[in-house]
């Protein structure tokens, strides 16, 4: 177990660093999907295989593709210097995020988790379904949340279409209109 954990953890974190530090945007996207796969592996370890499937399907499958589309439409050449992709907040950002991470880690790990043990997660899609619909041991609010999420997804799709619609008379290759 620990071996698997260490492997997955290092893979996830390395890919995360790769997202942040790579000079090529496409490389960043691929590193990101690698990180998602690592998380998916974690989900399997945590007795939620259905969720792991969700993760792969949605994140690696859909979100990555959408982002790659976004990259394609907003094309930038690959840069040679590291400094072009990084803004001036590098060191202060580093300090702050190390602080945040340390704080989070400290707060979370200082608790007494000795009474816990693995094995409480939903082992298959059935229990997951029951949880999502708010029956069988999970808080019943999930029923409402489930419906709300579906509406949210509809709204998001419509919004994305509306926002990115090309207005009449607008072309891609015209000069910058200021």
């Amino acid at each position: 177990m620990i071996v698997a954990f260490v492997f997955l953890a290092s893979m996830t974190l390395m890919c995360a660093l790769g997202v942040v530090l790579s000079r090529n945007v496409v490389h960043s996207a691929l590193f990101m999907s690698g990180s998602f796969l690592g998380i998916s592996g974690f989900f399997v370890m945590l007795n939620a295989p259905a969720l792991a499937a969700f993760q792969v399907l949605i994140y690696v499958g859909a979100v990555t593709v959408v982002i790659l589309f976004g990259i394609m439409f907003t094309q930038r050449p690959q840069v040679r210097r590291f400094r072009t992709i990084i803004n001036r907040q590098t060191w202060s950002g580093l300090v702050v995020t190390i602080g945040v991470g340390a704080f989070l880690g400290y707060v979370l790990s200082i608790q007494d988790w000795s009474a816990t043990g693995p094995g409480n997660g939903p082992q298959g899609p059935g229990p997951l379904g029951e949880i999502l619909l708010g029956v069988g041991g999970a808080p019943p609010i999930f029923g409402l949340l489930f419906e709300v999420i579906s509406i949210l997804l509809l709204v998001a799709v419509v919004a994305a279409i509306v926002v990115s619609r090309r207005k009449t008379g607008e072309g891609v290759d015209r000069g910058v209109e200021e």
């Binding site: 803004n87 907040q89 202060s92 300090v95 702050v96 190390i98 945040v100 340390a102 704080f103 707060v107």
Partner: protein
């Protein structure tokens, strides 16, 4: 003693009416303008009628009018009533003040005709009248002090009425500041009395002093301090320097304030608190000698003046000295009698001077000349006033001045007697010097040739005052002294003084009249047939001449000792304020705006910068909320957050 409410209202209305007139004129003056004089005259005339009532009551009943309301009551700290106390002395003063004020206000209608602050002039004049009347009827020291200050304020406002003239503004300031010195001493004296006896009423303090509640040295000091207040107000030595300069104000103002009323307030104070004064023989001596010395000193200063008003001003100082002298040696009735007579002829002298300036716009007697033919009314009224002032039988000045001189002799104050007699001589000399030079001879300037008599509304009051200058003395002749019956010191004071009434000393009367006539003759000899003689004399004795002309160098002395250092301090303070404090204040402002300027780059406009600050805030909040965890973590996170801010804010 027990007045009906109606009578009390009438009495109370005496000072209140002019105060009401002041309010009306101050608020609505710019709409009323020329009508202000009618409103004012109506008010003062009514007050005069009521004052006559008051005098009638007091004379008939033989007992003073006395009522009061409780103004401030501090339980343990004592109570301060505001009351009205009118005995014979106060009643006479009320009538005098109202009457002279009425004359002046009639006169001012023409004199101040084209003045641009006509209504305000009348307003302040009435405020002054109200304050003076209030001062007269005051029954305790605190009430007196309130009106005392008010009177000083009005004097300042009126002297500086033409404040566009820098000399007038300076004179007003000088008057106020010099009398302030006196006022401070008066206040200290009042407080000393209050602390020692717990009351501020005249009777209360007098009784307490008799009972021995006040230690004798303390008592003497307090009494002398009160007298210093009187010195300031009545322009006695050494606080006399403001009165001649106060002549910068309009002449009717000089007539009212600096002849008849305000300067009399000091004498009135001594008379009013006579019961207290007589208990301190030291204080009485101080009063008498300062009065006598001032009389002589001021008379010498008047000898050389070219400005008609200045001559009359010094004359006022000198005559007030006479009154103080009288009070100091115990001749209470004589002193007050002189006060009463002096009001009439001194006011008349001023009004005459005003008449001259109305006609020819100059006060310099050496620019006048020959006005006898051109302004006969003015001439004759001024001659009457001058004769009365000199003390020639049978005009009013004779009776009162003679009474004082005789008292001085009879009480064995020979030094004072000599001073008084010498002053008689000098008085006659200087006033007739002024009159002869101004009215006799040939006109010396174009303006003098063109001068015409003043309008009726100005000469009317002058004639009335001239009439009174002649007859007012007849109420106090040795044949039947009505005056001394009404205005007498209390029994206690009479006992304490131990003066016996003395008979009319014919020899001394003749001596004083002869001395006065001698003064007039000398003036005639020096100035009328061959005027160059006077100039010759002045050149021969020029150091003495300059000494007298410069007012015994008092002004120069005070200037060196007090005024220059004060101005230097003022300049220093102003520089300090401008440099140090000013810079401090603007520095604070600039500091804040500088801090703001330095904080401005924090708002960079970059969203990621803002996100950075959000994370920093989260950290800080986490530290604050989770402070229960190990102190080390707290310190660590604090350091991280500070480092992040330091790095981030440099963007």
């Amino acid at each position: 003693m027990n007045q009906t409410v109606g009578q009390q209202l009438i009495i109370a209305a005496i000072p209140v009416l002019p105060a009401l007139v002041f309010l009306i004129l101050a608020l609505f003056g710019r709409y009323i303008r020329e009508g202000a004089q009618f409103v004012a005259i109506f008010g003062v005339a009514t007050s005069l009628v009521f004052s006559c009532f008051a005098l009638f009551f007091v004379a008939r009943d033989g007992a003073p009018i006395d009522f009061a309301v409780n103004w401030i009551n501090l339980e343990e700290g004592g109570s301060f009533p505001m009351g009205i106390y009118i005995d014979g002395l106060a009643a006479v003063m009320l009538v005098v003040v109202c009457f002279v004020s009425l004359m002046i206000q009639l006169y001012s209608g023409a004199f101040m005709q084209d003045d641009k602050r006509f209504a305000w002039y009348y307003a302040v004049l009435n405020l002054f009248t109200a304050s003076m009347l209030g001062l007269v009827v005051a029954s305790n020291f605190i009430e007196l002090y309130v009106f005392w200050e008010l009177v000083g304020l009005c004097s300042y406002l009126l002297i500086g009425h033409w404040f566009e003239k820098p000399e007038a503004a300076r004179a007003a300031q000088k008057a106020f500041i010099v009398t302030r010195v006196g006022d401070m001493a008066l206040f200290v004296g009042i407080i000393m009395f209050w602390r020692a006896t717990g009351t501020t009423s005249y009777q209360g303090i007098s009784e307490a002093a008799q009972a021995g509640f006040i230690g004798s040295s303390l008592f003497a000091t307090a009494v002398v301090l009160v007298f210093v207040g009187a010195i300031g107000k009545s322009a006695q030595f050494p606080l006399h320097v403001w009165l001649p300069d106060a002549m910068e104000g309009p002449t009717p103002v000089s007539a009212l304030i600096h002849a008849a009323t305000m300067v009399a307030a000091g004498v009135y104070l001594v008379a009013r608190t006579y019961d207290i004064f007589v208990q301190s023989p030291t204080a009485m001596l101080v009063v008498a000698y300062i009065g006598g010395f001032t009389a002589l000193m001021a008379a010498t200063m008047a000898l050389t003046k070219k400005d008609m008003k200045r001559v009359i001003a010094y004359s006022t100082v000198s005559q007030l000295g006479y009154m103080m002298l009288a009070l100091g040696i115990g001749a209470y009735s004589a002193g007050i009698f002189h006060l009463y007579n002096h009001a009439f002829f001194k006011a008349l002298l001023f009004l005459g001077a005003g008449s001259i300036i109305y006609a020819m716009n100059s006060y310099n007697i050496f620019e006048m000349g020959g006005l006898r033919r051109r302004m006969p009314l003015t001439f004759w009224t001024m001659v009457i006033a001058g004769v009365s002032l000199a003390g020639i039988f049978p005009l009013s000045g004779f009776w009162s001045k003679d009474a004082i001189v005789v008292s001085a002799f009879a009480e064995h104050f020979y030094v004072l007697f000599a001073m008084a007699l010498l002053t008689v001589f000098l008085t006659a000399f200087y006033i007739f010097r002024a009159i002869f030079v101004a009215f006799l001879g040939e006109p010396r300037t174009e303006a003098a040739r063109e001068a015409i008599e003043s309008p009726g509304i100005m000469t009317g009051p002058m004639v009335i005052l001239a009439f009174f200058s002649v007859v007012s003395g007849l109420v106090g002749t040795p044949l039947r002294d009505y005056f001394a019956e009404i205005v007498a010191p209390s029994e206690f004071a009479t006992e304490a003084l131990g003066v016996e009434p003395h008979e009319f000393n014919v020899t001394l009367a003749v001596v004083s009249v002869v001395v006065a006539l001698g003064g007039i003759a000398l003036a005639y000899a020096l100035y009328v047939p061959k005027p160059e003689r006077a100039a010759e004399l002045a050149r021969r004795f020029s150091p003495i001449y300059t000494f007298l002309d410069k007012g015994w160098y008092f002004d120069a002395l005070y200037d060196r000792v007090f005024v220059r250092p004060a101005m230097a301090i003022g300049r220093f303070v102003r520089q300090f304020d401008r440099r140090a404090l000013g810079r401090l204040v603007t520095g604070v402002g600039r500091g804040f705006s500088g801090a703001g300027e330095r904080l401005r780059p924090l708002q960079s406009g970059g969203a990621q910068n803002y996100a950075l600050f959000i994370l920093v805030s989260v950290l800080i909040l986490g530290v604050i909320v989770g402070a229960q965890y190990a102190f080390l973590t707290v310190a660590l996170i604090a350091v991280i957050a500070l480092a992040a801010v330091a790095l981030g804010a440099r963007l």
